[in-house]
């Protein structure tokens, strides 16, 4: 009997000790982890927009996040957008705009939220729920970043996730105000190295650059070899201006598939096609509502 008690006692002490060690480590490392994720996203965003350490972001540039929610009330669904208010560099608070499924304005509510808290999903959801009231259920869907320079829109940054050949592929897409593609980054994937993983390479990713919205809406994948001059331009083997010219020459062409990875190539193309079409439709609707209702957004 005594032995069992000793055993239990010592085991419990060991467990508690272990728990203490792990708990402390968790608390210490959690902050670093979050900072890392944020830094990584920042780096991707900057490279998508064409900035780097040598060419840093100018003061006049603004980046504003728009969060899209799905709001359900008595079986009816509406789309909600959390948008920032105010001018460049000001903290004018946030507004939650609701638009119904037929693209008609429903209502707008002011949301009490600070700029640093808006990135945390928990705080953000709580603030939006509080502003809307308990009779509605909200669900966060996605966020978009609107980039402005001197108050004029220069780019939209979208996140996307879609099934690839193996598991999901996560990408970040940069669109110009006219919805043509200005940048693409593959964030996560589990494709085969040497085959599907080549979607990370410039000679695939950069094919999407400068393609106008009309082309992206109907983009297909062709199984043909790429002209050597095009490959050189994509890989950066010729100087930048000439490369950009070459890429613009191909702007109305379909995407050349990767050798041995047609399905991965098609997955990325279809994913981008769907993302761009949905975003263009939604943002046009949002823009119209913002204009009609005179909502003071900084973009």
């Amino acid at each position: 009997m005594k032995m069992i008690i000793t055993i239990i006692f010592r085991l419990t002490v060991s467990c508690l000790l272990a728990g203490l060690v792990m708990g402390t480590t968790f608390v210490l490392t959690n902050k670093a982890k979050k900072a890392n994720e944020f830094a990584r996203e920042e780096r991707v965003v900057y490279s998508l927009l064409g900035f780097s350490k040598e060419n840093p972001i100018p003061e006049s540039m603004g980046m504003y996040e728009v969060f899209r929610y799905l709001v359900s009330e008595n079986g009816q669904q509406t789309i909600g957008y959390l948008v920032p208010l105010g001018g460049h560099g000001e903290d004018g608070g946030f507004s939650f705009i609701r638009i119904d499924l037929d693209a008609a304005f429903v209502d707008k509510t002011d949301v009490a939220l600070s700029h640093d808290k808006v990135r945390e999903q928990g705080d953000r959801d709580a603030a939006v729920q509080a502003a809307l009231g308990t009779d509605k259920t909200i669900r966060f869907v996605e966020q978009t970043v609107v980039v402005t320079d001197h108050g004029e829109r220069t780019a939209y940054l979208l996140h996307g996730k879609f099934p690839g050949y193996k598991t999901n592929i996560a990408i970040m897409l940069a669109l110009a105000p006219d919805y043509s593609v200005i940048g693409l980054e593959i964030m996560e994937h589990e494709e085969d190295p040497g085959l599907g993983a080549e979607i990370e390479q410039n000679y695939f990713k950069k094919q999407f650059m400068f393609k106008p919205f009309e082309k992206i809406k109907a983009i297909e994948v062709v199984k043909e070899p790429m002209p050597v001059e095009y490959v050189d331009a994509l890989e950066g083997k010729i100087d930048e201006a000439a490369a950009a010219d070459m890429m613009k020459q191909y702007k109305d062409n379909d995407i050349y598939a990767l050798t041995g990875a047609t399905i991965s190539s098609d997955a990325v193309s279809s994913g981008i096609k769907a993302m761009t079409r949905k975003f263009a439709y939604r943002f046009d609707v949002l823009d119209q509502v913002i204009e009609e209702q005179h909502i003071g957004v900084p973009f």
């Binding site: 055993i7 010592r10 060991s14 272990a18 792990m22 490392t29 890392n36």
Partner: protein, 204 residues
């Protein structure tokens, strides 16, 4: 019952005579799965080294407190705790390397080699001796992983630690996942052959 081996000998044994990968044929999962580059090998090797050393030291320090009837669960608990600590730290401070290693850091908890070491050595020996023994084992694993990684990276992508050494890619096959089996098998055969060779020389 203290061991008669010196600390240096403990370390050397871990690397050569009782090398976990090539001699004892334990903890082979990462050897096959992750050894595509030298960097991966180094990072996982360091992770295993730290878990091994920390666990050995902890068990050795607590050896009087642990009741013999529950020693296996206690070993498991200790190893699991240290693996969690290392896992969290790697994820926070070395995110790029951590993503490449995927699930293999968490899998360290199932390595038989660590539990065996604790059972055979740490629970009987003093703290310093356990430290050196753990270090030796960990170094053996680390060196094994680095050698494997070097062979695969050099022959597969012509590079070492990311630096282009050969200027061309000899055989892409070597960095494909399934090649891990082949490389480990061939290297084991090679080591055996060298051993046979030296034994024959000694006799003849």
């Amino acid at each position: 019952m203290a061991t008669e081996k010196t600390h240096g000998q403990l370390v050397a044994d871990g690397i050569l005579k009782e090398n976990p990968i090539f001699k004892l044929a334990l903890s082979m999962c990462p050897a096959v799965g992750i050894s595509t580059t030298v960097m991966n090998g180094i990072m996982l090797g360091i992770a295993v080294l730290m878990v091994q050393v920390l666990s050995s030291v902890t068990i050795s320090a607590l050896k009087d407190f642990i009741h013999p009837r529950i020693r296996i669960p206690t070993y498991t608990l200790t190893i699991a705790t240290w693996v969690t600590v290392i896992d969290l730290s790697l994820a926070a401070y070395f995110p790029a390397a951590y993503i490449k290693m995927g699930i293999f850091v968490k899998i360290i908890v199932a390595f038989a080699i660590i539990t065996m070491r604790l059972e055979m050595f740490a629970c009987k020996e003093s703290v310093p001796a356990s430290f050196w023994d753990g270090l030796g084992m960990g170094l053996g694993f680390l060196i094994g992983m680095v050698v494997l990684g070097a062979v695969r990276e050099l022959l597969g992508s012509g590079a070492l630690l990311g630096y282009d050494v050969l200027g061309f890619k000899p055989l892409l096959f070597f960095i494909l996942p399934s090649a891990g089996f082949f490389v480990v098998g061939l290297m084991m055969g090679f080591f055996n052959w060298i051993e046979e060779f030296y034994k024959a020389r000694k006799r003849g």
